[in-house]
């Protein structure tokens, strides 16, 4: 096929991100400079973000069979790019701005890995083809192994990285096998082609059902849904805070977006088996995630378990797969990204600059309010938002999920959601009240006093204000999202 200017315009975000990766690499080869690499990365990602309106204008547009840029893709690209910019900014603060203090190894490659993973995410959200799905997923996953193990002289980080790699590769193997089975039966790799065959038969062949099941398992690994969640807490704990933030936001958003698109072509409700499987996964993720989070004394592990539960809530919308479902997922993911970035942002700033271990034990946050009121306010808003309390963005997301559940009459799943939220409130409140308790005498970690004036701090404050404003006045976001449909 011929490539015209239109094609290049819709691909601009992806092209710019890849070009930035090359530029940063060349920059490192020429001369190592931390700030320069950071600036290049942010500028590149920012340019990609700015090119989105142009891409949106030319959409929907297919570029080869693999990629299709439409409104849906554009929205998720924006979300991923924003999350990446935030993570890169956090990483800059985390690694340390001056030479000699902070992270002792080579700092610049972290940006390279993040840029590559971002490019993978962009491919993933705009693909409508199983091959594109696999390429995007691997491009997203492989750099994250490096990201998790970036602080490799820390035993936990290395262990987390290896664990992530092994399990992720196992997930990919499932995925590939599933794709192969689907291809064997339908002879097509595009979502639409598989979907047509799927819908054509009243009782799809066992092979195609098995293929879908395996595909689902593979994606569930990446989304850490129960029972494929075992890697999550260890990896979250081991990964340096900005890397964990990236894993929790950009990476998961991209995978969930592709899953959602897949299900739009193959509505889950069309086979009872898949429907039940998803419902069981949702209930299990909500309950297991919340229950295991109850007794955590490590904030990063706690957030890991809470993310399992949150993706359980999201699967409810996937099961419903009708009415408001797509919109609900978009809203929920947007609020979730905002909230998770905020929470990990606070952990990052508390651990800034890098000094061996992150500040992630809950007792290290005791009495934070009385010495860092604004940082605490940010974390408080994030915890309330994760718990879904009004005045925060998280409430709007939860409201949407419940609305979808009611609309599709999924009473059992709603019951699990209510129960899960009640359990969840317990540990979010535990974190919150810790922040306000009397402070201990001994403390190892603390955020730098001028955190609010640095890039990371400014970004964090913006995230917190957004989370608050969206909770009070969500209309602009909703108006934008109600038009985000597939195709």
């Amino acid at each position: 096929m011929d490539l015209t200017a239109h094609h290049f315009i819709v691909l601009l975000p992806l092209l710019l991100t890849c070009a930035t990766a090359v530029l940063v690499m060349l920059g490192i080869a020429w001369q190592r400079n931390h700030s320069q690499s950071y600036l290049l990365s942010v500028l590149g990602l920012g340019a990609a973000l700015l090119s989105l309106p142009a891409a949106l204008h030319s959409s929907p547009q297919s570029v080869t069979a693999l990629l299709t840029v439409d409104r849906f893709a554009c929205f998720y690209m924006a979300l991923i790019l924003l999350a990446s910019i935030a993570c890169v900014t956090l990483a800059h603060a985390y690694l340390g701005e001056q030479q000699g203090k902070g992270y002792p190894g080579n700092r610049e490659e972290l940006y390279l890995l993040m840029l590559l993973a971002t490019a993978g995410g962009l491919v993933l959200v705009s693909t409508q083809h199983l091959a594109g799905l696999f390429i995007g997923l691997e491009l997203l996953s492989v750099p994250t192994y490096g990201l998790v193990a970036y602080a490799f002289f820390n035993r936990r980080s290395l262990e987390g990285g290896i664990k992530h790699m092994v399990l992720s590769v196992a997930g990919s193997a499932f995925l590939l096998f599933g794709i192969a089975l689907l291809y064997a039966d339908t002879g097509s790799l595009s979502f639409a082609g598989v979907g047509d065959r799927f819908m054509a038969d009243a009782h799809p062949a066992a092979l195609i059902q098995l293929g879908m099941g395996m595909l689902l398992v593979g994606l569930a690994f990446k989304l850490s849904l129960v029972p494929f969640h075992l890697w999550t807490p260890d990896v979250y704990e081991g990964a340096p805070a900005p890397a964990a933030a990236f894993l929790a936001t950009a990476s998961k958003v991209a995978v969930f977006a592709v899953l959602l698109r897949l299900f739009q072509f193959l509505p889950a409700a069309s086979t009872p088996a898949l429907h039940h499987l998803l419902a069981i996964i949702a209930v299990a993720s909500i309950l297991v995630g919340n229950l295991l989070a109850l007794l955590q004394n490590n904030l990063k592990r706690l957030l890991g378990y809470s993310s399992i539960a949150h993706f359980g809530y999201l699967v409810i919308a996937l099961v419903a797969s009708q009415g408001l479902a797509v919109e609900a997922v978009s809203v929920y993911l947007a609020t979730y990204v905002l909230t998770t970035l905020g929470a990990f942002g606070v952990i990052t700033l508390m651990s800034t600059p890098y000094s061996g271990r992150d500040c992630d034990a809950l007792y290290e946050y005791r009495g934070l309010f009385w010495r860092r009121p604004y940082l605490t306010a940010v974390l408080t808003v994030m915890m309330l938002s994760l718990a879904g309390i009004p005045l925060t963005a998280g409430f709007i997301g939860k409201f949407y999920i419940i609305a979808v559940g009611v609309q599709a009459e999924l009473w059992w799943l709603l019951g699990a959601l209510v129960l899960g939220s009640a359990i969840g409130v317990f540990y979010y409140l535990r974190v919150m009240v810790t922040l306000f308790m009397v402070e201990p005498n001994l403390r190892r970690h603390d955020a730098p006093f001028d955190w609010g004036q640095r890039a990371g701090g400014v970004m964090l404050l913006v995230v917190a204000i957004l989370a608050f404003v969206l909770g009070i006045y969500p209309q602009p976001l909703l108006a934008m999202l109600s038009s985000v449909n597939l195709g």
């Binding site: 409201f399 009240v433 108006a479």
Partner: protein, 510 residues
Amino acid sequence: MILPWLVLIPFIGGLLCWVAEHYSSSLPRWLGLLTMGLELLLGLWLWHQGDFQLAPAAGSPPAWELEFKYIWIQRFGISIHLALDGLSLLMILLTGLLGLLSVLCSWQEIQKHVGFFHLNLMWILGGVVGVFLALDLFLFFFFWEMMLVPMYFLIALWGHSAADGRTSRINAATKFFIYTQASGLIMLVAILGLVFVNFHNSGELTFDYAKLLQARLAPSVEYILMLGFFVAFAVKLPVVPVHSWLPDAHAQAPTAGSVDLAGILLKTAAYGLLRFAVPLFPNASAEFAPIAMGLGVLGIIYGALLAFAQTDIKRLVAYTSVSHMGFVLVGIYSGSQIALQGVVIQMLAHGLSAAALFILCGQLYERLHTRDLREMGGLWGRLNYLPGVMLFFAAASLGLPGTGNFLGEFLILLGTFKVAPLIAVLASVGLVLASVYSLIMIQRAFYGPAKADGVLPGLDRREQAMVLSLIGLLVLLGIYPQPVLDTSLASMDGVQQWLAAAFSQLISAR
């Protein structure tokens, strides 16, 4: 434009209190006092110049004394819709008054982080005012959940842990939060269910009260949705099987927290029943009425018996609240106009008397540093004023004629007797038990041999002013309740019409 200001004033005042802490530690207190004074004055001014003949009633589009509407989330047909009728006005007056008192009663008690304390206090009150004014179901839920967070902080950060160390203040606060949050989510599911059923029938996605009143519901759906609302209100009221957060929360909360909790937060549940659960689902409510009244009687007797057995004076008062709110539940579901008017009086009178009792408990604690009745005794001779005042409020709580409590309970029993004689007879057992627990409290605390010698400091001016004004109001409510009854008449009339129509339909169906 006055209605949004009623909601906004406490929120803005709270923020100012927080900021003011940097300048002086007493400035937040004065600002809090000013904020709540302004709120109360606005309420009084509204009372003075309104006539309150307008209230929602069955069969016609709801009419309001004052209304404010602003489109908020267009996507779902959600608007910031506030409206005022007699019932909401009375509740707002109560909120303003008790808000003022809770600022006053923490003047000495709260010494650390004064600004943040007042921020939380003001935000609770703002949320409560929002609940009393909201007419959009989403907005109502928004405020309903929002007041939990500051209350949580109030208990968790400034509360007292129990002497025996069994229940810490953080556990109590968390229990309170989880109970109300989980039941709130069930209500949210029911709200959305109602909205989508209405959307299905009429094609309009809206959360507006007036429009949802017209929703046509199948009987079974109506019953289930009603239960969803009832669960949330039952937890907050509290109704007996789901009451266990209340004694813990009260016992551990600082005085101001207890005053707000007993005086106003419990009333939001009764208000929710009157404003939402009954009018939106009249038929299901009528069908459910015998069960609800049964639960009410259970609460009256169970609360009274447990109150009698307590050794912690604040827990004792907390259980009396369970008992008194049982009367409210009986009155609401009796569907008789006299009983419904009694409910309003009972809500106001209980708000005043429970607040007073908690303030007095706080003052006792400040002097004795214990809430354990076993360590009190013989205080009558050692304390000036306080025992006498306490005796008055104990008498009010047992329903002595001349106080508002008597009037409320009497009207409720009178109205209920015509509808459900058995329930009324059983409920009046509560009055007997009330005198038992009230008197035993006075006996244990103030009579008998003294545990120590020496005179304790009596009440100072601030404390005297607080309790004396409450005595005055309670007596006024008891002997001249007519202005209050006039104000709430139209609102209660509406509720009564809804229930009466549903009851007659139910009887003809049998």
